[in-house]
Symmetry: none
Subunit: 207 residues, 4 copies
DNA sequence: TATGAATGAGACTTCATTCAT
DNA sequence: CATGAATGAAGTCTCATTCAT
């Protein structure tokens, strides 16, 4: 059992290191642009050597990709949770925005992912605009539900409204990121709530 | 007059080079992040040597600052023009968005300025979030006019609406930038038009 | 112990490299002015890459500072040794000059330090004239001993004599440095011996 | 006559510029090492363009050489003057030191020359130690006169004494240069006077 | 004569990445 | 797993020098 214990310990230790590394990457990438972020800083923040970093990740791009993947997972999680709890589609969309805002405001790793998503052509060959397209689809899908369940205007232009919501949320992210590192994002979203509801429920020529 | 002629010629030549340099900087900064942009590329694009670049601008930061300054000037120009032409405040704000969208979609230098504004703490110690604050003020001022001239809802929450408009526009900028280098921005703005009008004119609990 | 061994080995290797680097810096800085010295030459002379140099020293200034620090240590060592051995204060001061002359004539690092000390305001913000002031104090202190132990004239103007000695020694350094890279310094000091003794022992209006 | 006048004016203007340029070079080279001095600074200090500088001097080395040449001329002038006035050889040598000290303390161009002389292998292929050898010869020649006219010890070791004097003076130059840009040189020389006289007049085993 | 503009070589420095231990 | 050491490519910037006007 000695050997197995040692192995287990090592593996546990390795996982812990990896988590620390990811958190450190989040901290650094949330503070500055990808090109300005130094692997040295990440390693230091994680309390390990630069050499070690290359054991856990292949290179700088991989680190960023890992961050992006965690971000997407966590944001997706919010979507799942909200969809389970929400009543009407309108509540769902509003709850989604609120939930994401809270997540972003408190989770450095998610902040880092957002930052990274907004700097294309940086080397990480991922099509970073992809996630945004996805979110439009998500929103459109919910809006269609809203038209169906009567919580939104029956003649809502779903496509345009979904894009508008996306723009609002992305804009709020960017502005709160610049303003105070996303601390004000929940407030911004709350403040936009009334306007959003108006757009989604006003009939005739809405959105 | 020989001497003066010579001087004038030289100065003109210099200014021309500077313009080329600025355009080149616009092209490069609009394509990639500040930290990824290479002075070599800018110089090459302008058709001059790297050394020359330092004759006209002190360093990389100065180049970026010059780009930002031109961007702000051109965007301010749109504001002025629109304010002169517009009838109601509602027309004014919608015209402003349209005008800016067209400018951004076609002017590389302005695109570069936008990119630069969104990468804080990169070295150009300018508080790059400042312009966004300014635009909220501009919007708020126009909205107050709209409440007064009756083109908007009398009980409009001006502050919240101004922030929402700003978020919409910034979000549209970011998304169109990621999607197709701002080509789709005018379309996005046009598509948001109905929603914006709804928000600004719906009474009771608007925005 | 495997791990500790590995660490120790690495550290030893690093120290060795640093020593080589310092020696190379001595060789280069002793041959030319600070501003003319190329880090490339130092790295090459030490047999490592330029990049490596920055692993051990932060920048060019740091390298120079390290050289200066070693120089001062080695020269101070001579002072200590001589003070322990010397009989009279007169023997002490003459022995000090001889010892320093021999050190300077043979130690490239010390030569480099001397060169560096004589190029003020070059970037190494150390007040490089400080060491010279120090040496005047040292000399004055010994001379006071000489007045006390009777090996020098009782009415010696200690301050003036100390300054004169300093000037002689600095002058000899500079001239031998220009003449033949300090090879002739011991000869110069030996040749000055008689004059120095005269100045220090002649009564009435000496020094 | 118009043409000649114009020519004369131009020539005069040119000479004036050249003088300004030389003074500027003196100012700059007296402040920093040759390698640190920028032609741009010299041109600015002279109030002309860098391009103009190349009309008057071929290149950076030439500027330095011009400074050195003026320095040597002015220092030689002091020698001539002193030799005409002095009574005994002892007075002559002491007067020479005093005269040179005063010149150096007040003349930036001479200060610049001194600085330049002490940075060998800088590019100006002049053997900069040559002047110092010369001055030893001058001193030796005067000392021989002193032995002859009885103002110095009859058994003076002329060679050694001359070298010692040279070292004292060079040392004083260097130290005052480092201390306060040569302002204290006259004081240093005055303070060394008594010691020098002792060395030159003490019999038996002097110098 | 004089100058504004331009150039190119080369210096210092940074940083992702690799490797022996 | 981890690290200290090392590397090399590349980037920003400086500066002596040239040239057309």
């Amino acid at each position: 059992m000695d050997v197995n214990d040692a192995k287990a310990t090592k593996r546990a230790h390795g996982l812990e290191t990896q988590r620390a590394l990811l958190a450190a990457a989040g901290a650094v990438f949330s503070r500055m642009a990808y090109a300005d972020a130094r692997l040295k800083d990440i390693a230091e923040e994680a309390g390990i050597s630069q050499g070690s970093l290359y054991f856990h990740f292949g290179n700088k791009d991989d680190v960023a990709r890992a961050v992006l993947s965690v971000q997407q997972e966590r944001m997706g999680q919010v979507l799942t949770t909200v969809q389970e709890l929400a009543g009407s589609a309108l509540d769902c969309i509003l709850g989604l925005f609120e939930g994401l805002a809270d997540l972003i405001a408190t989770d450095e790793l998610v902040q880092a992912g957002i930052r990274l998503s907004m700097q294309p052509a940086t080397g990480l060959e991922v099509d970073s605009s992809a996630p945004y397209v996805e979110w439009v689809e998500v929103a459109a899908s919910i809006l269609r539900g809203g038209v169906a369940d009567g919580s939104m205007a029956p003649d809502l232009d779903v496509r345009a409204a979904a894009e508008l919501l996306n723009e609002i949320f992305v804009g709020a992210q960017v502005l709160s990121g610049l303003e105070d590192k996303w601390a004000s994002l929940p407030r911004r979203v709350a403040s936009a709530r009334a306007g959003i509801r108006t757009v989604l429920t006003s009939s005739t020529r809405a959105a």
